[in-house]
Symmetry: C2
Subunit: 310 residues, 2 copies
């Protein structure tokens, strides 16, 4: 039985690193800079140096280390290769093979959103469960599907792309993905502001949402103060998200649905607006599917990454 | 290496039985009656008798038989137990344990639609692939999801209930499941007739669909003869199904989508009406997902059942 593992979460600005026990205790957490120059050619060697240095510093025996899990902002195929990762300026990278050679440790790589889902399943909002849908509501809408403790990576690396489920035929603006009418366009932080602006433009009624530089937080704060127009926005948001989750759960049938990302800081009130439409549209056998909020915040990625090699 | 396995597909009228080689050759296929009296209490012993008799008849060595796979028209939980199966008049049945005791062979049970999906993956329209969505268009709409060669059974036994994905808010009639606006209501044989009747009622234009006792086959025959109104119906059907599959594939990201069931006998023309909207609504990375028609027909269940124990 191995005693330790490393969890690495690579972002476009920083790389988050964690040293974990096999039981999931986070012993140490630190960050290094993501160096994008030279097509991101230093990123893996920087990570390897950070790991090797930590092993020396902590006087760990490499034989006690299960390996290195790593989450990447891009698709990761079945062979542990990254075909491209725009935010890291990467073309094709043999990430598992190369990082393993640099560290002398087994390496397992996956898409960062999927890895975060595994983290929430292990030690966060889905702890104790084995199948889960995670949806993260941030600048965009991401997510991951876990079935029987395993990430659904997808045959094109697109597993868990919940934000790009089609939910509305009437949206004419183009999503970042190039399609129109994606969940991300109505349920991300930006999407909620979009719904709020539409509601505000449609009436002269007073509203706490009539502020400069309206944010998703402003909308949820107004909901909590019983602002009638904000409640309409929350209902529309909840219907989009609850209905989409109902369809996805009708097919993947998870034990629990976990909602994370910056928008989820609104808390229980957000879950309330999502679960009612979910229950309306879900297949009867799954209407009782549990919901919870993510609890690991930005650490979900390092937790999930560490778990991948345990 | 075991040489043989049995695949059993239990229906409300007959039980289909198959004896297979480990390579997937169907050596013999036969049927027995499904006896529903006494709360279906004879079904398992009838199946066991049929298997034991076949082993004797073929002079098989039980040590050469991998086991018995069995598909059930109802949910099957993770412990191989059936909580209920309305069409078999069953309450809670310990199917794997009981049938194993009766045959002296390992038994693996799963929901029949999911088992059929595994069959199509093994030797049918999805042969050579490892992840697949099967959708069967018959009296109802069923289906199964396979990821990395494994059935997604679901935590409430509802995995793959594609027919009950919500697709239309405007349908007021209730689906068999109790919800409104399910895919089954617009994409099953009955659903296609519903769409056709709506189209016919909305105009006085001539159409080859103006016949007594209109069937889904009549609609597709009219499509093939360039009937303008039938083409409208096919487009509406294709948009409902293609859009729903796009959402499901955006999250499960299979290698191939296979369409089966009686309605799929319409052939390639049906795929054409589905793939265009699929490509419009699917996440860009998966727009190239392959489509094919199921090829095993009513034998998909025995193939998939036999595969479960190999």
């Amino acid at each position: 039985m191995k005693k330790y593992s490393f969890g690495i979460d690579v972002g476009g600005t920083t790389v988050k690193c964690g040293l974990f026990t096999a039981e999931g205790e986070l012993l140490e957490k630190w960050e290094i800079k993501t160096r994008l120059e030279d097509n991101g050619g230093n990123i893996l060697s920087d990570i390897a140096a950070a790991i090797n240095q930590k092993i020396l510093e902590k006087q760990l025996d490499k034989d006690d280390v299960a390996g290195v899990g790593i989450g990447i902002p891009g698709p990761v195929d079945e062979n542990g290769e990254v075909p491209f990762a725009v935010n890291l300026h990467w073309g094709h990278v043999y990430i598992e093979k190369d990082l393993s050679a640099l560290t002398g440790l087994p390496v397992k790589a996956a898409n960062d959103a999927n890895v975060a889902a595994l983290g929430e399943l292990w030690k966060g909002g889905g702890s104790g469960y084995h199948s889960m849908i995670l949806v993260t509501l941030g600048t965009g809408v991401g997510g991951g599907v876990i079935i029987n403790d395993r990430i659904v990576a997808g045959s094109h690396g697109a597993g868990g792309e919940i934000g790009h489920a089609h939910v509305d035929d009437s949206i004419e603006e183009t999503c970042n993905c190039g399609n129109r009418g994606c969940l991300e366009q109505v349920a991300s932080a930006t999407g909620i502001v979009r719904l709020a602006r539409e509601a505000l433009a449609g009436t002269d009624a007073p509203s706490k949402m009539r502020v400069d530089d309206l944010t998703a937080k402003d909308v949820w704060d107004a909901v909590k103060e019983d602002d009638a127009l904000a409640i309409q926005v929350a209902e529309r948001f909840g219907t989009y998200l609850g209905k989409a989750l109902a369809t996805l759960a009708t097919v993947t049938d998870p034990q629990i649905i976990v909602i994370g990302g910056g928008v989820s800081k609104a808390g229980q009130v957000l879950l309330d607006y999502v679960t009612e439409p979910f229950q309306k549209y879900a297949f009867p056998a799954i209407k009782g599917t549990e919901f919870s909020l993510a609890t690991l915040g930005n650490d979900a990625g390092i937790y999930g990454a560490a778990k991948m090699v345990l």
